[in-house]
């Protein structure tokens, strides 16, 4: 195929001790929507970085617009119409939306000076193109995650790109925004622009892609059309394992609730929230970004002081005036953003796991019993199947899914009565996701009360025995997953759109 937008041929790339890519080939035709799939750490991001010139491959070539490169730099890639929306967005938090949008374009013309007038024009156009409104003067660091991502998307779309690469673009987006993104992708296709798309959300992948490439452990597994695959075989190609999709059926023996909340409210984030949770239950809370779900979770964890209402644990009213008191009452919280809120990246996996209960390993003399702590860490590494040769390794040697297990392990180790998980499988591959769900169900069966906050609808429906839908700071309905289907739930979440946008 001589008319490919891009052809990757036999690319290999190794990092200190890790063969991230091995003899990978990939071709994308103009206007094609191509999906790149693989587990965490399989090499997707690395491949993307090779294509965009961030990493130079150890072997192999990249062909762009008929030119063959053995070594490519970001400028050359951009000049050949390759635009990347990175997993971490690659935005400048300290600069305004306008500059974030326009700087790349400014850079690509040869002049040494910047024109603020031109930048404003360019930025306005970029936002118009994807039909969103964001304050051009706002500093990107102060924007919510979804808007940051929209900035990154708008930026990538404004140049005359021939290939747009999106590395997990939908992780932080709400359904509504995902719809809009897909609209944009189809629009691009109509204009002959190809898209390379990475996502862990299967339904999205099947919905939008025209072709798949699956890689595993840095090696090419298969390239095929969606009709040649069903979800199950797709998962099998990715992981080499097989999964059954089952629904969660709770075993609730003790009828008295462990956690009760009535009339809880905070500022204008959420109000009048009532809920109750019994041991063994998995309660889903779902809602769009900005619906108040995260603030509610923080309030239940004591990190945000509720202004009205009360929280009862085992029937007793408690005042959570900080994270520590929540922990003391047996509440655990797996935060939304594991990198900044959940993990100590340079520290060992073991100490990340035991940190919240470390005082339990201190003898009366004040000496830390390291062996006991290590044993505890090892127990959780085994239990949660955290893929590491050694718990002494730093957490940042783990892939996303395994990092998430570490955060989970930390909270399970504190032996909580209530575990709140905010987006437990964001950006986690299906293998890991499955494992995490399995663990949660098993814990619930042992009597733990779990709250899963997520906008991943299948996740909520499959793993919860009750689902609360939040909208504009209020709980708008309670559903039984067994009798609800995905489309109904989605409709409920995005109902009353006006009220929602107010909270965002």
């Amino acid at each position: 195929m001589g008319d490919n937008v891009i052809a990757v041929r036999g690319v290999s790339k190794a990092f200190a001790g890790v063969q991230a890519l091995q003899d990978i080939s990939l071709e994308i035709a103009p206007g094609e929507i191509h999906c790149l799939a693989g587990e965490n750490g399989s090499g997707k991001s690395t491949l993307i970085k090779v294509i965009s010139g961030v990493h130079s491959p150890d072997a192999g070539t990249v062909e762009l617009g008929g030119e063959t490169f053995t070594k490519l730099n970001p400028r050359e890639a951009i000049a050949h119409g390759v635009q990347v929306i990175y997993q971490d967005f690659s935005v400048f938090p300290n600069l305004s939306v306008m500059e974030n949008l326009a700087l790349t374009a400014e850079l690509s013309d040869g002049r040494p000076l910047v024109s603020w007038r031109r930048m404003r024009q360019v930025a306005t156009q970029a936002l118009e193109k994807i039909g969103v409104e964001i304050d051009l003067e706002a500093r990107v660091g102060t924007l919510p995650v979804a808007q940051k991502q929209l900035v990154a998307i708008a930026r990538a779309l404004m140049s005359d790109a021939r290939l747009i690469i999106m590395d997990e673009p939908t992780t932080a987006l709400t359904r509504r925004e995902v719809r809009r993104l897909f609209g944009i992708i189809l629009d691009l296709k109509a204009r002959g622009i190809a898209t390379l798309f990475v996502s862990h959300k299967l339904e999205e992948v099947f919905e939008i892609s025209e072709r798949f490439t699956i890689i595993r452990n840095g090696k090419h597994v298969i390239t095929c059309l969606p009709e040649e695959l069903d979800r199950k075989s797709f998962s099998t190609y990715m992981t080499g394992r097989e999964f059954d999709e089952t629904r969660f059926a709770p075993v609730i023996e003790d009828a008295s609730p462990v956690l009760e909340v009535s009339g809880l409210g905070h500022d204008n984030a959420f109000e009048d929230v009532d809920l109750s949770l019994r041991p063994g239950e998995i309660l889903g809370i779902t809602g769009l970004l900005g619906s108040g779900r995260t603030e509610l979770a923080l309030a239940l964890f004591g990190a945000l002081k509720a202004e009205t209402g009360e929280i009862r644990i085992n029937g007793e009213t408690v005042h959570l005036n900080g994270v520590r008191s929540a922990i003391a009452h047996g509440i655990g919280y797996v935060p939304e953003d594991r990198l900044t809120e959940g993990l100590f990246l340079e520290r060992s996996i073991g100490s990340n796991i035991v940190i919240s209960e470390i005082d339990a390993f201190v003898s009366s003399l004040g000496v830390l019993d390291q062996r006991k702590a290590d044993a505890e860490a090892q127990r959780w590494v085994d239990e949660l199947r955290i893929a590491t040769p050694d718990p002494e390794n730093p957490v940042n040697t783990l892939s996303g899914g395994n990092q998430q297990r570490v955060v989970l392990a930390k909270w399970l180790a504190t032996n909580p009565r209530v575990l709140i998980l905010n987006g437990p499988t964001v950006g986690v591959d299906i293998g890991s996701k499955h494992d995490i769900h399995r663990v949660l169900r098993a814990l619930a069966a042992e009597g733990l009360a779990v709250i899963i906050i997520s906008d991943d609808i299948p996740e909520v429906l499959e793993n919860c025995n009750r689902v609360l839908v939040m909208n504009a700071g209020r709980i708008v309905s309670e559903l039984d997953p067994a009798t609800t289907d995905e489309h109904d739930l989605a409709a409920l979440m995005s109902e009353d759109v006006d009220a929602t946008s107010k909270g965002a």
Partner: protein
């Protein structure tokens, strides 16, 4: 998917896994060999080592405090101020309890009181730093730069800028004593360093210190008492600085507001050379101790060349620091260490 990651053999000793420490040790070894070959008469003389043993504990103790705060992601530039302030405070106290000509009993009492007072004052000064960092949330570099001026100012005010001397002889007896031929300052340093080492590796405090330095938000979410941890760390740094002040008080038999004015940057240099990450969260005590020894040996070696001016000292120290940085960069994959290890590493 559970087979990702490498399975290269890991040296048993955790320290040997730290490539930076290994390289520092290599630098020290080369240096000692050079010393032994070039100046055997000094290298093999005990006086050289005894002289070093008296010199470095002063600033090495301060460096330990800077190390702790840097692991936390902060810094302590006030150590010299704390040392001088506490030394002047305790010297004044000693003179008040046992004025010149007092008997030995009074003298001993004065020494004990002064040591306790000094450490308490150091802890208070450190806690003040910690409070400003943790509660008021002023960047540590500004807090401690300000309190350096403040503590030095207090030292000048109470001493009227003059040296305070004429200490009871009992102080010198205690502090200039030798334990098995080892000068007291070194004994103090070794004991203190061992205690700090235990604190860092064998207590929950140590683990929390590293964790907090690595990610403060996550530490909050994990339920660590971050405010108290920060305050306690700066307190420790204050205590270490006051211990350094006590050693200086002994070495110079007097206290003054401007002693050791060059130690601030020296302490930072040592800590950084020792491999502590200035952004917090990692680094080892072993590295810092090695860095102290490297710099002290270098400087004593330099003093054995009468014709080389002491002005070369910063040049050489800076050079060593840059050298280590460059080697670290060049040797990212740890080739040097592989040489020191047994063969079979695969990837």
């Amino acid at each position: 998917m559970y087979s990702t990651g490498t399975t290269s053999p890991r040296p048993r000793l955790a320290v040997l896994r730290d490539q930076h420490v290994v390289r520092l040790a290599a630098v020290l070894a080369l240096l000692l060999i050079f010393f032994a070959v070039m100046k055997p008469q000094y290298f093999f003389g005990p006086a050289t080592w005894q002289s070093m043993a008296v010199q470095f504990p002063e600033f090495a103790l301060m460096a330990l405090g800077v190390m702790l705060t840097m692991i936390l992601g902060g810094i302590d530039l006030s150590v010299v101020g704390v040392a001088n302030m506490t030394a002047i405070g305790s010297a004044s106290l000693m003179l008040a309890i046992a004025p010149t000509g007092a008997d030995a009993g009074q003298g001993h009492l004065a020494v004990v009181c002064a040591i306790v007072f000094s450490l308490v004052l150091g802890a208070a000064a450190g806690a003040f730093n910690g409070f400003l960092v943790a509660k008021v949330r002023i960047p540590a570099i500004l807090v401690t730069l300000g309190t350096f001026e403040l503590f030095t100012g207090v030292a000048i005010i109470i001493s009227a800028g003059k040296p305070i001397s004429g200490l009871p002889p009992q102080y010198a007896e205690v502090m200039a004593a030798r334990v098995a031929g080892i000068p007291m300052p070194l004994v103090i340093f070794v004991v203190v360093a061992a205690l700090i080492g235990l604190l860092m590796t064998k207590t929950a405090f140590g683990t929390k210190l590293y964790m907090l330095g690595s990610n403060e938000t996550a530490a909050n979410f994990s339920g660590l008492k971050t405010t108290s941890l920060i305050i306690r760390t700066y307190m420790l740094s204050g205590i270490l600085a006051s211990a350094a002040g006590l050693v200086m008080l002994a070495n110079y038999n007097s206290a003054k507001a401007d002693y050791g004015s060059t130690y601030t940057l020296l302490a930072v240099l040592i800590v950084v050379l020792g491999g502590i990450n200035p952004n917090g969260g990692s680094g080892r005590l072993t590295g810092v101790i090695l860095a102290v020894v490297v710099l002290q040996v270098l400087s004593s070696l330099l003093n054995t060349f009468p014709n080389i001016s002491n002005f070369y000292r910063p040049l050489i120290w800076g050079g060593v620091l840059l050298l280590v940085i460059v080697v670290n960069q060049w040797d990212k994959r740890g080739n040097l260490m592989r040489l020191l290890r047994w063969k079979g590493t695969q990837s």
